[in-house]
């Protein structure tokens, strides 16, 4: 294994590290043979010619190669100018204090490293330490912006290799903030990774296509990063209503999905990815909300039918713009509150990040769907038949919902009402100490080049390990299906992809889905077999 030092970031032409299967720790059975695991394919020569491929064996940002030393210098200067702006109130009031805190007070004790699944599952390669990119940025900041002594703060050379590698390295972090939880000082390396992404985006115009052009831009102009405009989304939802009525055997009135209802109590905002990829999630919400007699609606306003806010992963302005569209829809409909569907980053964007942006009549109260689902589960309004969920169930904690928002107990309390007690098991660790699924910070939607292989094989490896460990007391075969409850759209996408990558349904019976599907599956009024394990 190559183990780069901090100062190596500015040196050499090729990738700094190559991670191979043999560097990694074997998974639990039946996936415990490293030699049987898929190998990560190399980047194509064409990609290597066009883009900077100098960090490791994948790329996600697709930074075009600089054409001349003059262009390199210009890009480095742009980076420095962005770094300077990051330390001004005008340009970065949004995160100035946490940034200064993390830059100035890290004691470089390396305590946070072992908390990081990416570092751990790389076989502990120093490049993937939470501290590596932060330390490089810290040294650049003190040497080139503050012009202080390198004796005090350490040295690093700043050139285009440093900058291009650093930007790519900012996308080797799920922004899960598990590392920050362990820091004795309160420094936050995830924040620094995000600030790096911001400098690249907000100053240099460098971002990933998935988050920017196909993400926030599409959402701000068309209405959804799925590309659906309001007509298409309404059409799709109509199909979902019908399918849900068929699947549940309920009266179609009971699976109706209301649109644009003025003065409704609740504006429900889903991640529109659910509408495309997991329509049963949207149908389940409708079934539960209707059965509980809630007064609710969806909105067909621009972006208001898609809770996605990819800005939170790379760009404060895009974050604010998307938030404002969501808030404006709620204001126009005069709803009493916004409720976020099963999407972790949408939760964090609107409830936590948006909290200090939305004021006055744009400040419609916002809450997670989890407390409502818990209240529905316990309300007595719906009769549950737990025996319908008589299969092993474990719960994935989406970082945005749990560690970053403190919504932890309601989903567990809801599960208790609909899953037999002896069938539920926690992962180790869980709750606020959970591991990210490996799809966090936008990775779940990134699959260009060979990045998907990295995402499944490497970033999501700890989560897959945890899932397998949670079910080790069960027969690991297809005949004994097991349910990973992942109440977040991005996490669900990532877990779906890992299952597919390892063929884990066929080999171990691992299946995944949301919380609401489990709830509807346990409704005594609903036709048995709502969850169909053959559909995976």
């Amino acid at each position: 294994m190559n183990a780069p030092l901090i100062r190596d970031i500015s040196k050499g032409d090729g990738p700094l590290v190559h991670i191979v299967n043999e560097d990694q720790v074997p998974l639990p059975p039946p996936f415990d043979k490293l030699e049987d695991e898929p190998r990560i394919p190399p980047l194509s020569d064409q990609v290597k010619q066009r883009f900077e491929c100098n960090l490791d064996d994948t790329i996600v940002v697709n930074i075009p190669k600089a054409k001349s030393p003059a262009e390199e210098e210009e890009l480095v200067n742009k980076f420095l100018s962005g770094l300077r702006k990051s330390f001004t109130k005008e340009n970065n009031w949004t995160f100035l204090m946490p940034l200064v805190m993390s830059m100035e007070h890290c004691a470089r004790c390396q305590t946070c490293n072992d908390a990081c699944h990416i570092y751990e599952e790389s076989g502990k390669n120093p490049l993937y330490r939470p501290t590596y990119r932060s330390e490089v940025l810290r040294r650049i900041y003190y040497k080139y912006v503050k012009e202080e002594s390198t004796w005090v703060h350490g040295d690093v050379d700043l050139n285009w290799k440093t900058v291009s590698r650093l930007i790519e390295l900012a996308y080797r972090c799920n922004l899960c903030r598990r590392c920050a939880q362990t820091c004795p000082i309160g420094a936050d390396n995830a924040l620094i990774a995000r600030e790096l992404r911001k400098i690249a985006s907000q100053e240099m115009g460098i971002f990933t296509r998935e988050l920017h052009q196909d993400g926030s831009e599409l959402q701000l102009t068309v209405g959804s990063s799925t590309g659906m405009n309001s007509l298409v989304v309404k059409d799709n939802v109509e199909f979902i209503e019908e399918d849900t009525a068929d699947l549940t055997g309920l009266d179609p009135e009971k699976t109706k999905i209301p649109w644009d209802k003025q003065g409704a109590e609740i504006l429900l905002i889903h991640n529109a990815g659910e509408i495309m990829a997991w329509p049963e999630n949207v149908g389940s919400f409708a079934t539960l909300f209707n059965a509980a007699g809630l007064d609710w609606t969806l909105s067909s306003d621009l972006a208001a039918y898609d809770g996605i806010n990819y800005g939170v992963f790379y760009d404060d302005m895009q974050t604010a713009r998307t938030l404002l569209l969501h808030a404006e829809a709620a204001r126009r409909l005069k709803v009493k509150k916004i409720v976020l569907g099963e999407c972790g980053h949408a939760h964090k964007a609107l409830t936590i990040i948006g909290d200090k942006i939305l004021t006055g009549d744009m400040n419609t109260p916002r809450e997670s769907c989890m407390p409502i689902l818990r209240d529905i589960a316990k309300s007595g309004k719906i009769k549950w038949d737990k025996s319908r969920n008589d299969f092993p169930v474990t719960l994935h904690d989406p970082c945005n919902l749990v560690r970053l928002m403190g919504v932890n107990a309601p989903q567990r309390e809801a599960l208790k009402e609909v899953v037999p007690e002896n069938r539920f098991r926690e992962m180790t660790p869980h709750g606020v100490n959970n591991y990210c699924c490996g799809g966090g910070s936008g990775f779940a939607i990134m699959s260009g080049n060979n990045f998907a292989d990295f995402r499944h094989h490497f970033y999501g490896r700890r989560k897959f390990r945890q899932i397998l460990e949670a079910f080790q007391d069960e027969p690991m075969d297809k005949e004994h299906p097991k349910y990973v409850c992942a109440p977040c759209s991005n996490c669900k996408g990532q877990i779906r992809d890992i299952i597919k990558y390892y063929d884990a349904f066929e080999k171990a019976g691992i299946y995944y889905g949301g919380l609401v599907e489990l709830m509807v599956n346990a409704m005594a009024d609903v036709k048995p077999g709502y969850i169909d394990f053959e559909w995976h």
Binding site: K78, G82, K85, K89, E90, N91, W93, T94, F95, L96, M97, P98, V100, M101, H105, C106, A107, R108, C109, Q110, T111, C112, T131, T150, W151, V152, H153, G154, Q181, T182, C183, I185, G186, D188, Q202, E203, M204, G205, E217, T221, M317, A320, R321, L324, I352, I353, D355, K356, I357, T359, D361, N363, E367, P371, D375, R403, G406, N408, G431, V432
Partner: protein
């Protein structure tokens, strides 16, 4: 020249106080930032603080009174400061070095404060200090002073050894990190030798500090050798006191804000609440980010740019 150590001490205490106040003011004057809390949040009531729950676990949370438990914060903060709990939990190898280093410093500070306090008490109520309390304080100061110096030196040597030998730490270690640890070892080492060699009853240190705290300094007494030794110790300790808050070791101040203003800052912005004005001020900051999609010109504000129609 006889009062040089006294002058240095006053200057050192002054620099320390001014640097700490400046640091506190710097953090207090930081602009409002977006929420970035991290759970568990220690002031959440009851069990929530333990498992990492928040008020957002309640439906219609804004209609319910928000409970903030200061006792909960203290329950986490005090053990964290005294015993470095996070390090104990997540980095035991570092803790066995860092804890004695930090705790030793607390003991030395405690001994110094007690010596100063004893001097003041001795002036105010001489009878009290002449009795059992005086003896008790004296013994406590002896224990904390000598024990603290020893503990801290042990910890600093351990930290130095680990910084220089662990490959992961070595790459992150700067010249200043080594200098800081060596500075502690030399200053505290000198103080410990001073105690053992010529001040085992602490009368020299206590007399000096009494003069400082009562603003009636008296020149150091004894042989030239003794005076030089005591002066050198005081000067080195003084420089150390002044130096600490000027370096990243001021994290003892930053840590308070890291916890209170960032990690545990979950105060919601309610409609019509006291935060709206501050948010309004931030949203009218002019933006100069250069990327095309931002659309900034150095004059348009966050509010202008976030609300204008988005064009690709």
């Amino acid at each position: 020249m006889a009062f040089f150590p006294h002058i240095i001490t006053y200057i050192a205490l002054g620099v320390f106080a001014i640097a700490c106040i400046a640091r506190v003011l710097m953090w207090m004057r930081m602009p409002m930032h977006l929420r970035w809390e991290l759970y568990p949040v220690a002031h959440e009531p009851g069990n929530k603080a333990k498992y990492g729950g928040s008020y957002l676990e309640e439906s219609d949370w804004w209609k319910k009174p928000r409970e903030v438990s200061m006792a909960g914060e203290l329950k986490v903060m005090v053990p964290e400061i005294l015993f470095l709990v996070a390090l104990w939990e997540h980095n035991r190898k570092m803790w066995v070095r860092s804890f004695p280093f930090h705790f030793g410093i607390y003991m030395v500070i405690g001994a110094t404060v007690m010596m100063m306090g004893s001097a003041l008490l001795g002036l105010a109520v001489p009878d009290l200090m002449a009795g059992g309390l005086g003896t008790f304080l004296h013994n406590t100061v002896l224990f904390c002073g000598a024990g603290g110096l020893g503990l801290s030196i042990f910890g600093a040597l351990g930290l130095l050894q680990r910084r220089l030998t662990d490959p992961g730490l070595r790459d992150f270690t700067t010249v200043a990190d080594i200098f800081n640890l060596v500075f502690f070892i030399v200053a505290f080492g000198l103080a410990l030798v001073h105690f053992i060699a010529i001040d085992s009853d602490l009368s020299r240190s206590a007399g000096f500090l009494a003069g400082i705290v009562t603003f009636s300094p008296v020149a150091l007494t004894g042989s030239v050798h003794e005076v030089s030794f005591t002066s050198a110790t005081i000067i080195l300790m003084g420089v150390l006191v002044a130096y600490i808050p000027l370096t990243h070791m001021s994290h003892f101040i930053g840590k308070y804000f890291a916890y209170h203003a960032i990690r545990w800052n979950d105060k919601p912005n309610l409609k019509g609440g006291d935060e709206e004005a501050a948010i309004g001020e931030m949203l009218t900051q002019p933006v100069s980010w250069a990327a095309k999609h931002i659309g900034a010109d150095g004059k348009k504000t966050w509010a202008d740019l976030a609300t204008q129609e988005y064009k690709k």
